[in-house]
């Protein structure tokens, strides 16, 4: 029996991966491109990437993609959800696609089918369900969407109550959850039925509060029960280290431990990291939450917008969720994913910058190794992965010709690796310290979450930390 020390080794050494895991799969970065493929090839074309193929397609296929239903929970979830849909639609309508018109149409059609449904007067309606326990944020979100004129939310797609969860995970999970289970699941079901071909759920929530975290965990569990064949990816916002909510560590560990059981993949974004991107790379002086949410939306958009499927360059990938999960989450013990996207720059610099693939690739590789969140050949280095996996299998590329959201070229890296272990470890440590002094516990036991539940959560998360450390 081995005891694992709680201190995580330096995460910069992704190469020192000891493959103890019997089923072996570990660091699986996945590269998603939106390049102008033929213009620049990296000096030594990597074997794994099919860059030699020139995509000058004939009629692009009109295979439409499978649809994703988004569930936005709590203040954070709803504010971000709005930005994501906005980013997706404005990118799809963007005039700087830098590709042929047919290409563009196929791209738009694919994006639309995936995230929006059509209404009579042609205004796309987001495939989304908005849930919050108090009305202010949902009202704001609905009106912002309607004001844009480009798209809107469905009229009956929201569920709202009068009194929030008070940053109390127990209240969100044990009180609001069961009380409103039926209504919420009904709305979700209606949204799913609208899809011709349903791929899975994308659930946006934060870990620190009460509704997003507690009710989010409850809803995800329900989705697991009722839609066990569909995929669920949870987009979780990691709060600032120096606190937005005092009990955020408790809420976080309870959320993560529950989601680990019921969700298929956890895509994690840290507020601290995105804040740094805003400050350093984009040069925003007074950063507001809306800036942060927009960067996040940009990252998510560049992952989920249509890209070519592996078989042929003529078809857009039908099932992004499924493909992502297949390649990135092969083992249920390793579910935490993170996203790195380049480039990020302020609007002003955008006009004056030219892009090269070599530069982008190098940047991205550096980001992967040094755990920076702010940037093929490099990715093939076996040292990056566990000894179990040949780079050929671990590393996958998606691409499309069409440029994303004003960036002539951009690249996104979604990875399942040890990077999130350090923050996770810190949160578990802080929560444990607080738990040892029994502070705030009475607020949770009031609503049915007992100390045993906390201990269970601690145990499962320590297990996760240990597994990742052992890679």
């Amino acid at each position: 029996m081995r005891m694992v020390s709680r201190l995580v080794r330096s995460l910069n050494r992704t190469e020192a991966l000891v493959g103890v895991w019997r089923q072996g799969l570990a660091v699986l970065p996945r590269l998603v491109w939106n390049p102008w493929a033929q213009v620049i090839l990296p000096p030594r074309p990597p074997k794994v990437l099919g860059l030699q193929v020139v995509f000058r397609g004939n009629t692009p296929s009109l295979w439409l993609s499978m649809s994703i239903v988004t569930v936005q929970l709590g203040q954070c979830g709803n504010q971000i959800g709005f930005e994501v849909f906005d980013a997706l639609l404005s990118d799809s309508h963007s005039s700087q696609g830098l590709c042929s018109m047919r290409e563009n149409e196929a791209y738009q059609a694919s994006c639309k089918e995936r995230f929006f449904s059509e209404e009579e007067n042609g205004v796309p309606i987001a495939r989304a369900v908005l849930v919050d326990m108090e009305p202010k944020v949902i009202n704001q979100t609905l009106s912002k969407a309607a004001q844009s004129g480009q798209w809107k939310y469905g009229q009956h797609a929201c569920f709202c109550q009068k009194q929030g969860s008070g940053n109390n995970w127990a209240y969100g999970y044990s009180v609001h959850g069961p009380r409103h289970e039926e209504s919420i699941m009904n709305i979700i079901r209606k949204e799913v039925e609208k899809c011709d071909s349903f791929s899975g759920f994308f659930i946006i929530m934060s870990m620190a509060g009460g509704t997003g975290s507690g009710l989010g965990a409850f809803v995800t569990q329900n989705l697991e029960d009722q839609y066990s064949n569909s995929l669920k990816m949870n987009q979780i916002i990691w709060p600032y280290g120096t606190g937005e909510v005092i009990v955020q560590n408790y809420n976080s560990i309870l959320t993560l431990s529950h989601l680990y059981r019921s969700s298929d993949a956890l895509l994690l974004h840290e507020n601290d990291a995105i804040h740094k991107i805003c400050a350093k790379l984009m040069n925003i002086k007074q950063i507001s939450f809306s800036d942060i949410n927009q960067v996040l939306a940009h990252q998510l958009g560049s992952v989920f917008q249509p890209t070519y499927s592996a078989e042929s360059s003529f078809h857009y990938r039908r099932n992004p969720l499924g493909d992502l999960m297949e390649h990135l989450v092969p083992h249920p013990e390793f579910k935490m994913l993170s996203v790195r996207n380049i480039p990020h720059m302020s609007e002003n610099s955008l006009a004056y910058t030219t892009f090269t693939w070599a530069g982008l690739l190098k940047h991205l590789r550096q980001m992967l190794i040094s755990n920076a969140k702010m940037e093929e050949e490099g990715f093939k280095d076996p040292a990056l992965y566990t000894s179990w996996l040949k780079p050929v299998n671990a590393f996958n590329v998606w691409k499309t010709q069409r440029a994303f959201s004003k960036y002539e070229k951009s690249a996104v890296l979604v990875s399942n690796s040890q990077f999130l272990v350090k923050p996770l470890d810190m949160i578990v440590g802080k929560a444990w310290n607080m738990f040892a002094s029994k502070a705030y516990i009475h607020q949770y036991t009031k609503f049915g979450i007992e100390e045993e539940d906390f201990l269970d959560s601690f145990t499962s998360l320590e297990q996760v930390v240990a597994s990742y450390c052992n890679l």
Binding site: M1, R2, M3, V4, S5, R6, V20, Q75, Q79, E134, P135, K136, V137, Q140, K162, Q163, G164, S165, G166, N167, N168, G210, Y240, G241, T242, G243, E244, V245, I246, V247, H275, C278, A279, Q286, I287, S288, F289, S290, I292, V428, G429, K430, W432, N433, M434, A436, S437, K438, A439, Y440, H442, Q443, F458, T459, E462, Q463, V465, A466, N470
Partner: protein, 475 residues
């Protein structure tokens, strides 16, 4: 959206309450230009069609007809309440919301609590039930009273038990005015200690305030205004300093300015729950985050800035000054020095044009000079509300659960013991049916236990932070 009911008890409570309603009306008038009865207003006011007799007059949407405050006014002598009813705010109150008597409590907690408590219990209960029925979703009772007198102190704390039994799920936030050193009521230590016991047991959250601090703050403002310091002039319509924008000019009473501050405190406390913002904070979150253990629910508050500056575009240095001031002992509404004591938790509620990066920058800047308890080293609760208070461009309310309340309690206990040892004035209390000496001893021991808890926390103040051994997983 949730509603809150304000319960004002005693002379002090009613005077503060009166200021509060005046400010609330002005704030909503400034924000709500169209005169539509929206959810923000509904948190404190009902919309009533006064032509309808009886109870059926409530209107839930549409244009504002006539606003009635969600308030219950209680006083055992008629002077203050009558004045309110004859003043400019008479239309805001419903005569059905009042409970008055003639004789007053004579600065005697026992009379307020035992005599009037039992006499008016049913009436009180009925008024509460009525006001709760008018609410769609009642979240919180705000009780305003003083600790040193008879009615506010005795009857005010009697109410807490009633509310706890009748509405267990509704929060009870108590704003208590503690007697200062030079208080003119001789028996105020007795009244305060007896009231403290009730607060310990039945309140969810207590915001202690004392008159001396309020007075000091007012003097500071006056000094600033009169000295004409460069770059700072007070906007005439600012809610903090003057009530000149009030419905009608009423001649200034001595405590007006001080009551205004407390009224501002309550408004800012509820602002993030009423108005929109990028990081909302509801009232139930205050209790959740700032009360780590049920008995330690005393929150020291501070409001900044106290005066507005003429510059419209506030450069970051001024903004940062607002944050620094919030932690200085001159700005606290209680005689306390939080910087040199131990923080259990701290909440920053910002209103106006302040973004998350400003907030983060200031937290990073101020953190090293503050001492937090070992298990809550980074325990900050923050909220951003986009609607600023009237006459300011931004403001900050800081609530701290901090061991600096201990000296106030200890001083109170000392004054109590000085009187109690001599059994001075005790007979007034013991005369009242239901009062015995054990009431006093129990009250003191309850306070002592509280002081001891704070002592234990203080003892951990300068110890190095140790990480406790965690669960280890066998592989």
């Amino acid at each position: 959206m949730t509603q809150s009911v304000v319960v004002q008890v005693g002379q002090c409570g009613n005077q503060i309450g009166c200021c509060f309603w005046d400010l609330a009306l002005r704030e909503h008038a400034a924000v709500n230009q169209k005169g539509i009865y929206d959810e923000a207003i509904s948190s404190f006011f009902r919309n009533v069609d006064t032509r309808v007799v009886g109870d059926g007059g409530s209107i839930s949407k549409g244009k504002i007809c006539s606003l009635k405050a969600r308030a219950v006014l209680i006083d055992m002598e008629e002077g203050v309440v009558n004045e309110i009813l004859q003043g400019p705010l008479r239309d805001v109150f419903d005569t059905k919301q009042l409970i008055t008597d003639i004789s007053g409590s004579g600065n005697n907690w026992a009379v307020g609590h035992k005599v009037f408590g039992s006499l008016y219990q049913d009436q009180i209960l009925e008024k509460f039930r009525k006001s709760a029925e008018h609410c769609d979703c009642l979240q919180c009772f705000f009780i305003i009273h003083s600790m040193g007198g008879g009615t506010g102190s005795g009857l005010g704390t009697f109410l807490l038990k009633v509310l706890e039994d009748e509405f267990p799920e509704v929060y009870r936030f108590v704003t208590s005015i503690y007697p200062s050193g030079e208080d003119d009521v001789i028996t105020s230590p007795y009244n305060s200690i007896l009231a403290m016991k009730e607060l310990n047991e039945h309140a969810d959250c207590v915001l202690p305030i004392d008159n001396q601090s309020l007075f000091d703050i007012i003097s500071k403002i006056d000094l600033m205004v009169n000295s004409g310091k460069l770059g700072t002039t007070v906007k005439p319509k600012s809610l903090v300093t003057s009530s000149s924008g009030a419905l009608k000019k009423r001649h200034k009473k001595p405590f007006d300015a001080m009551n205004n501050i407390v009224a501002n405190l309550l408004l800012n406390l509820t602002s993030s729950a009423r108005f929109e913002g990028s990081l909302n904070m509801d009232l139930n979150e205050i209790s959740m985050n700032l009360v780590p253990f049920p008995q330690l629910h005393y929150l020291v508050s501070s409001l900044t800035p106290l005066y507005t500056l003429t510059d419209v575009n506030i450069p970051p240095r001024r903004l940062d000054q607002m944050f620094s001031d919030a932690f200085s002992k001159d700005h606290q509404l209680l005689r306390a020095d939080p910087k040199h004591s131990l923080y259990l938790a701290c909440a920053l509620m910002v209103r106006g044009n302040v973004q998350i990066s400003d907030l983060r920058r200031n937290i990073e800047r101020l953190k090293p000079s503050l001492q937090f308890v070992s298990w809550n080293q980074e325990g900050w609760k923050t909220s951003l509300c986009s609607v600023p208070p009237v006459g300011h461009s931004h403001s900050l309310l800081a609530l701290a659960n901090n061991t600096c309340v201990k000296p106030t309690f200890m001083e109170l206990k000392e004054r109590f013991m000085r009187l109690y040892k001599k059994k001075a004035h005790l007979h007034h209390y013991l005369q009242v049916e239901g009062m015995e000496e054990s009431c006093f001893t129990e009250a003191v021991s309850s306070l002592s236990a509280l002081i001891q808890e704070y002592d234990q926390l203080d003892a951990t103040k300068n110890m190095p932070v140790q990480d406790l051994p965690r669960l280890s997983i066998a592989m």
